[in-house]
Symmetry: C2
């Protein structure tokens, strides 16, 4: 049986070949270093969770439209996680009384969402999650935003490339209440605000009319969205002062259009977008003071963000800011001259590895030397070691630099220096 269709991943899933994984590892290593520099410890949790964990707070779109659901053999409803925040919060809730606050954890994990695959949007993606748990002041909000800014800096994205658009749900609630929008009307209105940039002014207005806002309210709302001033929100004012002290104000902008679809946010919300490419949100986050409580136990304030790998890698590619990476670790190919000399090449490979030099041994007894050299050349292996009868007799080894073509004989002791130069 041979079935060519079996060689493809499922729709929207991603195969990471060495050159692809090298990029993701580069990205996440950079971000991991930033998180560590702020004292964040790394955790991990299961890719499968109870359906109820997400149903509790993740919001209708994520749960009912985008989640991969399954039943285990005992009939329990499970979900493939569409985001990491519920798992993270559950792990806090589980050990709530033993943990030490303020708690700084970060997490890297695979998530799945059933979306239409297109550029910058696969169904299978990886997320970086970072939260500061147990801090309720603006200082905590500022810290996670600074980490996000340092994370952008670390991969070469400047305020020319990306903008952090920041808002506060508490401020929105107060401001909209002032123009008579509250309760169910508030929820309906913020849903429209969330879609504001995807629809025209007319569509927005008629949407507001449909939920029975008066023309006066619609006028006031539009003025608020166009000309609101963060000075009116003490929380936002304080936050922006801190962002200034941290030196990251150039990345940041107050924006009353940022609401975010996820249900569990309770205060500051933010989203990062690229400035010129029109891609989807690069990352998003906010304050979620009630989520840990939802999963059992007392209220613990928390603020943080999640950044996916897909959009940011697409952005870096378009801006030509992806580094040139060499996934191949091999420095030397130890060739096999003839079956009876295999042991000698084997010993050489062991010796090189024990000196910290990644070495491949050609795994055939009688392959032609030409074939082995061609393999090294195609693969991009920088050095080839040849051990023929002459070399073995003289206890030497011939080293060929595959870039220059230069060939030298050296002792075993001289080998390392030759390869490292």
């Amino acid at each position: 049986m041979s079935d060519k269709s079996l060689s493809q991943p499922i729709r929207g899933a991603r195969d990471f070949y060495p050159e692809d994984l090298a990029v993701r590892n580069w990205l996440f290593d950079k971000w991991r270093d930033v998180a560590k520099s702020f004292g964040y410890e790394e955790i991990d949790g299961p890719v499968l969770e109870s359906f109820d964990l997400f149903a509790a707070k993740s919001g209708d779109e994520l749960v009912n439209q985008q989640m991969y659901m399954l039943e285990d053999k005992d009939g329990r409803k499970l979900g493939v996680r569409p985001e990491l925040t519920p798992t993270y919060s559950r792990m806090v809730a589980k050990r709530q009384n033993e943990l030490i606050y303020p708690l700084r954890w970060t997490m890297f994990g695979n998530t799945w969402r059933y979306e239409k695959p297109q550029t910058g949007r696969s169904r299978d993606f990886w997320q970086w999650e970072l939260n500061l748990v147990g801090g309720e002041e603006s200082t905590a909000d500022a810290e996670v935003l600074v980490i996000a800014a340092k994370a952008m800096e670390a991969i070469g994205l400047t305020p020319e490339d990306v903008v952090f658009r920041i808002n506060d749900r508490r401020f929105m609630q107060e401001s909209l209440t002032e123009i008579g929008i509250s309760g169910l009307l508030y929820d309906q209105t913020t849903k429209l605000i969330d879609r504001r940039e995807k629809i025209s002014q007319d569509e927005f207005n008629s949407g507001l009319q449909n939920i029975s806002l008066t023309n006066d309210q619609i006028g006031q709302l539009n003025s608020f969205l166009q000309a609101s001033d963060l000075e009116k929100s003490p929380k936002l004012k304080e936050l922006f002062l801190l962002l200034d002290r941290y030196g990251i104000l150039p990345y940041c902008r107050f924006d009353p259009l940022i609401i975010r679809g996820i249900t569990y946010y309770t205060g500051t919300v933010f989203e990062c977008f690229d400035k010129n490419q029109g891609l989807r949100s690069v990352f998003g986050g906010g304050r979620f003071d009630d989520l840990v409580k939802t999963f059992g136990g007392g209220k613990i304030p928390a603020v943080g963000f999640a950044a996916g790998d897909v959009v940011i890698i697409e952005l870096l590619r378009r801006l030509d800011k992806l580094p040139k990476l060499t996934p191949l670790p091999t420095r030397v190919l130890a060739t096999v001259f003839s079956p009876d000399l295999f042991s000698d090449s084997l010993s050489l490979s062991l010796s090189l590895r024990s000196q910290g030099i990644p070495t491949e041994l050609y795994p055939e007894l009688s392959a032609k030397l030409d074939k082995q050299l061609k393999y090294a050349s195609r693969k991009g292996i920088p050095y080839v070691a040849i051990l023929g009868p002459e070399e073995v007799e003289k206890k030497l080894v011939t080293i060929k630099n595959m870039q220059t073509g230069e060939q030298k004989q050296t002792t075993m002791e001289g080998l390392k220096a030759l390869i490292e130069n």
Copy 2:
């Protein structure tokens, strides 16, 4: 809404708190380094695959009893991968004609099996997969076994602790054919051999009688299993000669009881067990020359192994060979003396981080200093920096060594040296 049961992961799933993840990362980093030293590149693939990918060859138990299955919204049958080899082989098949052979890839990934959770057996585990693709000689089999041995060495497991039990399915087929066991009878017999160690001699014999083996055949089979000599298999003889040259013979033993349940193995098979703890298999592998072909395209020989994280960590724990790890990266807590001095502590934290010193800033404006010191002490943060009005005026900082209790004032420039000593 607050639901305590929501704080638990699903049955058999694993939460990796910082101290748990540190262990897994330590283990996989050690193994990754070994793989790299042999020139292996790292790949990754999706945790969800088409059901058919596993149905093709993974064997009845894995597919029909242990796999988590789901349907996507278009009604396609998917599976949460119970092992990594099918994904790995699929990725080879997909690019079969562009890839350069011999191909050396390794992979670390999450896998799920619906098993009864118990010690050393969770439903949610991580595997290290490593294969050499495109080499059909014993030299390739030897290479992956050497890598496995180096991987054991790297984490402190010696031939006193673990044994690699090695067999060859080709040799088994020949030997059993000699005593008239072939075709369906061969499959039935090897299934019993696979279970031999879990049942008594009587149960084994009556199992053989049930599949209609004669008493003479049963006698011959038992003699073969007890006293077979690898000298009778040229392949195994050659392999063990190579293992000797690699210096890893002390780890290795020929064992005709090793058959392995997975359908796709075609030659050498092996399994590693601990010697004294009676745990499950630590890792297993073998040659699978037909699997890539199953997923489309031509035949490409391959040999390799997969090692899970659960059993090996349990083994290391029992042998007291797990290292002491410190998941907390923080070196310094920058305390906040008073709201008006928050900016000074903020600047200090930025400066320390820019010098490569992981630093936490206490994220509250008015927390008592005592509370902050207590936090640092409970958390195990080695140094605390205090910036009061006096320090700020003199442009100094007070550093407290939390281990010794010693307190010193220093300039900003002198800080780094003080912390690193």
